[in-house]
């Protein structure tokens, strides 16, 4: 097993992320991926909590949004965040592979979409889009 992380970085003062996923395993992995890149991050368990955290005044540079979640799914959460005027990078992350389903998610307001499982290279490609 690896003893050294290959992407370790110092905590960034600027880049922040929100993980939105009802799956505990995925939350743990996404948290670690972001941590390894030095991105401060918090996690919520469904779309409603994602909307609520923004209503409380918090904003994030990046939102990793799962699609299938109870209470409020990723499509609805993305739609609501955009209607609230949230302009953060929202990257949809899902196991869905049907074009129709992915298109609906993208049309809700995503900036990017990646098929799960999320890997370091996929996350880096998302972040490159934030940095232009």
């Amino acid at each position: 097993m690896a003893a050294q992380g290959r992407h370790g970085g110092k905590k960034s003062n600027k880049m922040t992320a929100l993980v939105v996923d009802d799956n505990t395993v995925n939350r743990m992995i996404h948290h670690r991926l972001l941590d390894n890149l030095g991105i401060e991050n918090v996690a919520v368990v469904n779309g409603k909590e994602a909307v609520d955290i923004h209503c409380s005044g918090k904003t994030f540079d990046l939102i990793l949004m799962d699609m299938d979640m109870p209470v409020m799914n990723g499509i609805e959460a993305t739609r609501q965040l955009r209607e609230m005027g949230i302009r953060s990078m929202i990257a949809g992350v899902s196991t869905r592979s049907m074009e129709r389903e992915i298109r609906e998610f993208i049309e809700a307001g995503l900036d990017d979409y990646q098929e799960k499982p999320l890997t370091m290279s996929k996350l880096i490609s998302i972040i490159h889009k934030i940095n232009g």
Binding site: M1, A2, Q4, V25, N26, N36, P117, T119, M120
Partner: protein, 145 residues
Amino acid sequence: MRRQLAIMRQSLFDQGYLDEQFIELEELQDDANPNFVEEVVTLYFRDSARLILNIQQALERKPFDFNKLDGYMHQFKGSSSSIGANKVKAESTLFREYCRSANAEGCLRAFQQLKKEYATLRKKLEAYFQLARQTGPLETASRPK
């Protein structure tokens, strides 16, 4: 013992129990998080046991609610995929295909096979992590040959 650990690890890939995603998890380990992979895998087995029970109970109710079964399996497959559980993921995919074609017998067969693969994976990973704890971390995560 390190050699034994490396051989054990290699065989998990060679026999198809694990795929590249497991290596992605290994690469997230560092000195500050030396047990990350074992922690994620432990969480997976704890979390997925609940899903397996839900599916089991849903299969005891007739007629089958294929939408519900597919929903549970979608979650289970997602977690399995995230830790690189290759064979378990494959059985999950097969189960979902049977759900979509409303094939009750197929679902039952696929679920039995899935539980076998799941139990085997659990046993193998428990043995692997037990040996890893005794041996200490390998220096680098290596791609399977």
